[in-house]
Amino acid sequence: MTHSWTESPAPIDESTMRMGMYEEELRKFNWSLLILEVILFAVGLMNLYSATGVQDKSMGLYKQQLIWFGIGMGITGLVLLVHYSVLSRVAYVIYFANLLLLVAVLVAGKATLGAKRWIGFGGLRIQPSEFMKLSLVICLAKYFENDRTVGGMGFRDIILPTLLAALPAALVMLQPDLGTALIILLTFGTMMLFLKIKPRIILAIAICGAIALPVVYQFGLKPYQRQRIVSFIDPMADPKGSGYNSIQSMIAVGSGQLVGKGYRKGTQSQLNFLPEHHTDFIFSVFSEEWGFVGCMVLVGLYLAFMLNGMSVAYQSHDKFGILLALGIMTIFFWHIFINMGMVMGLLPIVGVPLPFMSYGGSSLMTSLVCVAILTNIANKKFMF
């Protein structure tokens, strides 16, 4: 898969199309993120193969994941053909198109487990909320591209961007998909903090948040979502019920001990004690079978990926590029942190996939496109 890709004439740009420079371009091409992506995906696929060998609904799903990866790599090639500044031009179009899809999901979506998250496109089922994260980042990068505010944003400066984030977050909440809504808001918040907000505004928001929190908890959350938070605080209160997932996941991770139980020998997942072991709890499967050592390797891979991505943002020569790359890395960061945190009982159970590891076409596709954009940014930095 990766091999075929490397042969495609990816880094082509009019400004760089000079004879004799082609090989030079290829040599200077930033492969690091793509390579890390392939490694992470390979680890993920191997792990998924173990997790989906279980005799349940997930059986054989790794094949599906492989197909998604192939499609994603094709899209990556396409993304690399176009300069990322094109995204700046179509940012709002993408954003509103995605918003429309979110509305469509609520109107005509397919329900699984009581939540409407999917929309059918021919034979494909896509999850627009996954793409919304990226769409929002593109939109925000565009919005702040020409912003010249100094000394931090005031109250008026944040109203519009807040609306841009709140709208999709609210739509996703309605599905309901707490995890994705949370990621949208956290990504937005991180970007805003990076862009600098006046301290008193932060303080005001913090106070408002503290007041609003109980109200939102009481009226904004569905009973099952409240239950998740309760069982996060005390999973043992109902170990067979709402605390079950969290406890079983912690047991899975912990029982891996130093070197794990061995590949495809994780009893928690193989015997179905782990819920959703191919999606949200994929990390438990990995930790159980590979132990602390394996986890360190995986964390190392993610760290390398994060550092590489951030350096793309750091080294980008235009504001749009910085904000776009930074926003994308923020999405990755929160996914990794929240997923691992919840799997290990540090955070409440919210449905957040682990990039490259969890099964899910839309999620994988979004990750692959994100990496494609990052690589695009990385390779355009010299051609300014």
Binding site: M250, L258, T267
Partner: protein
């Protein structure tokens, strides 16, 4: 608001990156610390939990000890049976429950509603506890259920070893039954037992099963099985996945019992007893070993060990003849004429009569202002102690009673022979019977003893009550010349492999130094009952086998004088007399003593004696074939015939009952039953026996 150029702003952005890096490393630090905590620090515990998750400790029920008769014939065995259980926990959604129940209903042929009702009843118990749906599945049903198991989470077939009485309703009361321990018993038994019981465990509830629970019960083992989250046992799980520090524990079987019972004798007694109501006890007079023990009506213990149906249970409870009561030792009766030997012994030992003493029986006797009748209207003429026993002459014993100083003298000798007190057999709820004394009556009724009552006591009436076991044991003591043994039922306990652990030794209760002459007189009288033409049991004699004994007929309700002369067989069943027989064989060096009571059997000689006869015959022929085998017997009879030409025998009156109508105003009897038993039946010796042969 100042505006900056993009380059400046980019530089400012780059400045802020250090915060981002810091945040990234802090977040990673948190995650890694958590991994260290879970996987390194808590790893052992988590691993243990994950093992507990998947390793199910499946209880392996230990086989209960088997029960054999004295010749190692198997009486109670453990046989496999299959039960169907549902663990409600795995039926999380009602739709799933419906599917499973619908499928199951087809497979085991049980209405869906019944299954759902059973599940509903178990609603208040924890959902991980299995609910028994059906017991005793056929092999076919087991195969069907097993093949559909993957589609029926929570459905399990449990193999259980079921207690089976090999011969059905034989000695049911003695052997008893087991049942599931209930929640009320649980805390009580667990206080004293070393290996704890759990709900669902079997426990002896009756008879020996209950009494010797400690010996019969084994120690349950444990088997480790790998299960998935739905509790389904993984069939292909290799042994390597069960960790070494969690070992299976084999079940330790309970100890076997070898009883003193003889199964052939028991079956013979069963057959001879037929559908009568009452009980039989056969004892070895040389040791106190119980050879046969029967109580009727009875029940099938196997029904109990497999979970008795409420309908059947109800039927047993409401049966007026108390099938759940062991009538050999939990019920007492007026001994009637069988008691006369005790009066004779009291008379002989207290010195008021000897072998030369004769009284003339005219058919009745005046005492005080009443007339006491003999069963023979026209009298027996001159009677000595031997002929009085043989012909059951009431007047003779009235006279003995008259001569005795007090009823206490009869009581003394009765007590010495084990009457009026528990024999001490190791069985539950034995009752002591009653031998009245003057003091007893004062205490009980606050009334002085009436001398007329002594006369009634002398012929086994009035307040006298004995159990069948006591009667058999007293006759055993008479048979062996005065040694009273404590009856026992367990000959030895053995390990599962048959190694003897403990052997019961005969235990002496009392040894009476009867003058040989006295015991010979009594035994001679008893021999005459069966073997001389005037004897009341002459019809039941066993030519060539000299067995001895005494018949008895005890009236159970008060009847008007003219009715008493009517034929007992024509009366309402519940009004008919109780028939008794107590005896032993052979006359010299007796090896078996038997007591029989047939409730409402009318006549001791016709209802009870043939049963004793059948038991004695079976026993002698089985254990002494060279003395009593069919061929030996035939040869001896031929010899006898040749030696003494047969005399024409004057037939004995079949049954002639006499009455003692004067005794009508006697006090109600004292019935002292342990409180554990249900109230006394309306029939039985509630009214004083007044009838004699």
């Amino acid at each position: 608001m100042a505006f900056l150029g993009q380059e400046e702003q980019i530089r400012e952005f780059q400045d802020r990156f250090r915060y981002l890096y810091a945040a990234l490393f802090i977040a990673l630090g948190i995650l890694i610390s958590r991994m260290v905590f879970l996987q390194v620090l808590q790893g052992d515990r988590m691993r243990e939990w994950s093992e507990k998750n998947r390793i199910k400790r499946v209880k392996v029920a230990s086989p209960r000890g088997m029960i054999f008769d004295r010749n190692k014939t198997l009486l109670i065995d453990n046989r496999p049976a299959f039960d169907l259980e549902i663990i409600p926990q795995y039926l999380r959604e009602s739709k799933q429950t419906q599917q499973v129940v619908a499928r199951l209903s087809k497979l085991i042929g049980m209405p869906e509603k019944e299954i759902l009702d059973t599940l509903e009843r178990a609603r208040n118990q924890p959902s991980f506890m299995p609910v028994k749906i059906k017991t005793d599945l056929t092999r076919d049903e087991v195969a069907k259920v097993e093949s559909w198991r993957i589609d029926m989470p929570g459905v399990e077939v449990r193999q259980e070893i079921k207690r089976t009485n090999v011969h059905g309703e034989v000695a049911s009361h003695l052997l008893g039954y087991i049942g599931e321990i209930n929640s009320a018993e649980l805390p009580i038994v667990n206080k004293t037992s070393v290996t704890k019981y759990e709900l669902g465990d079997g426990i002896g509830k009756f008879g020996l099963e209950q009494r010797l629970e400690r010996i019969l019960r084994g120690v349950d083992g444990e088997e480790l099985k790998e299960v998935d989250a739905l509790g389904r046992i993984k069939l292909d799980s290799s042994k390597g996945r069960v960790p070494g520090n969690m070992e299976s524990k084999p079940a330790v079987p309970g100890k076997n019992l070898v009883l003193t019972l003889d199964q052939d004798l028991q079956l013979a007694a069963n057959k001879a007893f037929g559908d009568h109501i009452g009980s039989v006890v056969a004892i070895d007079p040389r040791s106190g070993e119980i050879l046969a023990m029967l109580s009727r009506p009875s029940f099938d213990p196997t029904e109990f060990s497999r979970g008795i149906s409420p309908a059947l249970w109800n039927k047993l409870l409401t049966n007026p003849n108390h099938p759940l009561r062991d009538k050999t030792l939990q019920d007492h009766y007026s001994p009637g004429s069988t008691f006369k030997v005790l009066t004779a012994i009291a008379g002989l030992e207290e010195g008021v009569i000897d072998e030369k003493t004769t009284f003339t029986c005219t058919g009745n006797m005046r005492f005080g202002n009443r007339t006491y009748h003999c069963w023979s209207k026209h009298g027996h003429g001159n009677m000595n102690v031997v002929s009085a026993i043989t012909q059951s002459c009431d007047v003779f014993f009235y006279k003995v009673a008259q001569k005795l100083k007090s009823v206490d003298q009869i009581a003394k000798w009765s007590n010495l022979l084990g009457l009026g007190r528990k024999t001490g057999i190791d069985l539950a709820r034995e009752i002591p019977g009653l031998i009245p004394t003057e003091e007893w009556k004062r205490k009980r009724f606050n009334q002085p003893w009436n001398d007329g009552e002594t006369l009634s006591v002398a012929i086994g009436q009035s307040f006298v009550l004995t159990t069948t076991l006591q009667l058999a044991n007293a006759y055993a003591a008479i048979a062996n010349g005065g040694t009273l043994y404590k009856p026992f039922i367990v000959k030895q306990t053995e390990t599962y492999e048959g190694q003897v652990i403990q052997q019961t030794k005969p235990e002496l209760l009392s040894k009476i130094d009867f003058p040989a002459r006295d015991i010979a007189l009594v035994k001679q009288g008893l021999w005459g009952v069966v073997n001389t033409p005037h004897g009341t049991a002459f019809h039941s004699r066993l030519p060539g086998m000299d067995f001895a004994g005494k018949t008895g007929t005890a009236q159970i309700i008060r009847l008007s004088a003219d009715k008493l002369y009517g034929k007992c067989e024509t009366w309402k069943f519940a009004d008919r007399h109780n028939a008794l027989f107590a005896g032993f064989a052979p006359q010299e060096n007796p090896v078996i003593a038997v007591a029989v009571i047939v409730e409402h059997g009318c006549h001791g000689s016709s209802a009870a004696t043939p049963i004793a006869k059948a038991i004695i015959k079976t026993y002698l022929q089985k254990y002494f074939p060279d003395l009593y085998g069919e061929k030996v017997l035939a040869a001896r009879l031929k010899e006898l015939k040749a030696a003494t030409p047969p005399k024409p025998v004057k037939p004995v009156q079949e049954e002639a009952e006499d009455i003692v109508p004067e005794n009508n105003e006697r006090l109600p009897p004292a019935t002292e039953l342990p409180p554990a038993l249900p109230p006394r039946p309306a029939v039985g010796p509630a009214d004083l026996p007044e009838l004699e042969e």
